[in-house]
């Protein structure tokens, strides 16, 4: 395997041709005692500057594992990436040396997590942790780093940043801690921000604050954002494109408007019909029957077939490819036409 050097990446700010980030046919496996778990099974999506791609899925769908593979923070072993590429400005990150990846990680591609409390170190002040980014990557002095930390805390709208820069993580509320995480993530002006369930642990009004902050930061810096979530409401609010994942595969890939107007995969359709809405009083909720599959014991053919109302015999035997629909979207369902038209099986 040839090691590509970091020099081939365009300098900061320089934009290469094609998408900013291109995940291509990514596979991730985990070796467990019970067997090999194929957590990610040929996932592809791309991200352009200023764009928000939502990766939607339930627990175990592989959405977070994909993100960790992009960031290069998977534990190898037990994880293994048998094939696939993650191209950043056209350079495959998976082929970079660990040293070069460290340069990309945090500086060019940054990530925020669901649980801000455990992602922050409890024994250092938040100012110290934010300024660490500048000390380590930019060689700044402690004093300058702290000054930058205050600036960033102001930017993510933490009230009285100057006074609070020497506080410890536990002295902040959940929403404020998430802001501190965001401050650390955007410290070095990354081009890609991966947000893994950034608001799942937060209350709705705080969620609204955080999502607004992220949108504003994105507008200012034109960074691309990968939003990993299970919340169909948040996705509808902020995403440009959606990739719906089920059992390690992308089952549908489309613009946000297309998907919500007319889903082309029975799983997406089921999800959309199963959530109650604050603006409507529905009667009975549609419930997708059954449970998500066990990754160690995947159904034959299409992984969704045991739960699918559109199932035909060939779904049990043939795994559907990602069909292209009208050149703008994809669906991994043999019967996407019926799903689009809404004729139930």
């Amino acid at each position: 395997m040839s090691k590509t050097s970091l020099d081939e990446l365009p300098a900061e700010g320089g934009r290469g041709n094609g998408p900013l980030l291109d995940v291509d046919n990514l596979h991730v496996e985990f070796a467990t005692r019970a067997g090999v778990v194929r957590a990610v099974n040929g996932v592809s999506y791309s991200l352009n500057p200023g764009e928000t791609v939502a990766v939607l899925g339930e627990s175990g769908s592989g959405k977070s594992v994909t993100a960790q593979a992009i960031m290069g923070i998977l534990d190898v072993p037990p994880a293994r990436i048998p094939q696939g590429e993650v191209r950043f400005h056209g350079t495959d990150l998976l082929k970079l040396s660990e040293e070069a990846r460290t340069q990309v990680r945090g500086q060019r591609i940054a990530m925020i997590f669901q649980d801000a409390l455990s992602a922050l170190n409890p024994v250092f002040t938040v100012g110290w942790q934010i300024s660490e980014m500048f000390r380590v990557h930019r060689g700044m002095s402690k004093r300058d780093g702290m000054k930058k930390a205050v600036e960033l805390m102001d930017k993510v709208r933490i009230p009285a940043a100057k006074q609070r820069v020497n506080d410890y993580p536990h002295q902040f509320s959940g929403g404020m801690r998430q802001r501190i995480m965001i401050a650390m993530a955007i410290a070095l002006d990354p081009e890609v921000l991966i947000a893994d369930e950034p608001t799942t642990a937060l209350d709705v009004t705080v969620q609204a604050q955080i999502m607004e902050l992220l949108a504003e930061l994105q507008r200012e810096s034109n960074m691309g954002m990968i939003l990993i979530t299970h919340d169909l409401g948040v996705v509808a609010d902020v995403a440009d494109k959606i990739a719906v994942m089920y059992a390690g595969r992308i089952v549908e890939n489309a613009s946000v408007h297309d998907i919500y107007k007319a889903p082309a995969h029975p799983y997406t359709k089921g999800l959309l019909e199963s959530i109650p809405r604050v603006d409507l009083k529905g009667h009975e909720l549609y419930a997708i029957k059954g449970l998500p599959p066990n990754l160690l014991d995947m159904p034959t053919g299409c992984a969704f077939h045991p739960r699918c109302p559109y199932r035909q015999d060939d779904c049990v035997t043939d795994a559907p490819p990602l069909y292209e629909i009208g050149g703008t979207r994809n669906s991994a369902c043999h019967y996407w036409r019926e799903v689009l038209d809404g004729d139930q099986g």
Binding site: E284, Y286, I288, K289, G290, L291
Partner: protein, 323 residues
């Protein structure tokens, strides 16, 4: 999806809904209903599981042999080590020979016979001290953790006082004070138990506090469960595992502590025999004659190992996730 609710009287015997999740559950075993009527519980399932664990069977066989050895030592050797005539000073520290498979010690006594006869004191001390500390410390820890408040504050402070006593010094003090009470090895058991129960107490209390914070305890209280029920049905089964592990590991420590006490002149004394005493006696001449030390040490290790295996098997059997 015809999940449509049915109003009116409770149709308990008819299947009222198309169950989503049920479809994926494994099919009922043949004869379904009747088989399910055997109602399992944690303890019956654990016992069922234990009987199938080779480690459990093996440790039980070992422990059974050790117990028989303790109480009927003459089944294993024809030499009575308490009979001074079996020792011959002239053969001191001789290596293994026919009739004396472990050789002889510094007084020319048969090491094999002494090891066999020494089992009784060592195992009684190890096992009873373990049982007493597990019961006393465990029960107090359970009560303190479950009740909290003043009960917890008082018992916790008391254990801290015990923790502050250096263990060998404390044991010396206790045994020396009561040496005239002619309690024999039971004095050692009492001294070690007094000093060791706070350890079990702490472990049990911590485990109970963890279990107490979980919702199922709240759910039981909401059902109107009594305090005793919460303690013994909910908290104890979820907190007992670390106590079992520590207790079985401590067992070896108690046998060794008995040796230290013997060495210091309290506890088991010659001409009585214990493994600890034998090891202490053989220490000085270990380089010239290792066997008088090695054999009791090996027996001690096997005993400890047997109990640790037993503890591990019981702990695993009590965890449904590991079955």
């Amino acid at each position: 999806m015809s999940d449509m609710p049915q109003a009116g009287p409770v149709p308990q015997d008819t299947q009222t809904l198309t169950t989503d999740e049920k479809a994926t559950a494994s099919p009922p075993p043949a004869g379904g209903r009747k088989k399910a009527a055997r109602s399992a519980s944690l303890w019956s399932d654990a016992w069922y599981d234990l009987r199938r664990r080779p480690m459990f069977i093996f440790s039980l066989i070992l422990i059974a042999i050790l117990l028989v050895m303790s109480f009927w030592p003459s089944l294993f050797t024809s030499i009575n080590p308490f009979d001074a005539r079996t020792c011959e000073l002239s053969t001191a520290r001789q290596g293994p020979s026919s009739g004396h498979p472990f050789g002889r010690d510094s007084l020319g006594c048969d090491v094999f016979a002494r090891t066999i006869y020494g089992a009784k004191n060592s195992i009684i001390i190890g096992v009873t001290t373990t049982v007493i500390t597990a019961l006393v410390g465990g029960l107090l820890g359970l009560i303190a953790g479950a009740r909290g408040g003043l009960t917890d504050t008082i018992t916790s402070r008391v254990t801290e006082v015990f923790f502050a006593i250096p263990s060998i010094l404390g044991a010396l003090l206790i045994t020396a004070t009561f040496r005239d009470a002619s309690l024999g090895i039971w004095l050692v058991v009492i001294a070690l138990s007094i000093l060791a129960w706070p350890m079990t107490f702490r472990i049990m209390r911590a485990a109970v506090l963890t279990a107490r914070g979980q919702d199922f305890v709240l759910a039981a209280r909401a059902l109107g469960a009594s305090q005793a029920r919460v303690m013994f049905k909910h908290l104890l089964p979820n907190a007992v595992a670390p106590v079992i592990v520590v207790a079985t590991i401590n067992l070896g420590g108690f046998i060794a502590a008995e040796a230290a006490l013997s060495f210091l002149g309290v506890g088991v004394q010659s001409p009585d025999i214990s493994w600890g005493l034998m090891i202490a006696d053989a220490r000085n001449r270990f380089l010239e004659a290792p066997l008088p030390l090695v054999f009791p040490a090996v027996f001690l290790s096997v005993t400890v190992l047997a109990f640790i295996m037993l503890g591990d098997a019981v702990r695993d059997a009590l965890d449904p996730k590991l079955r």
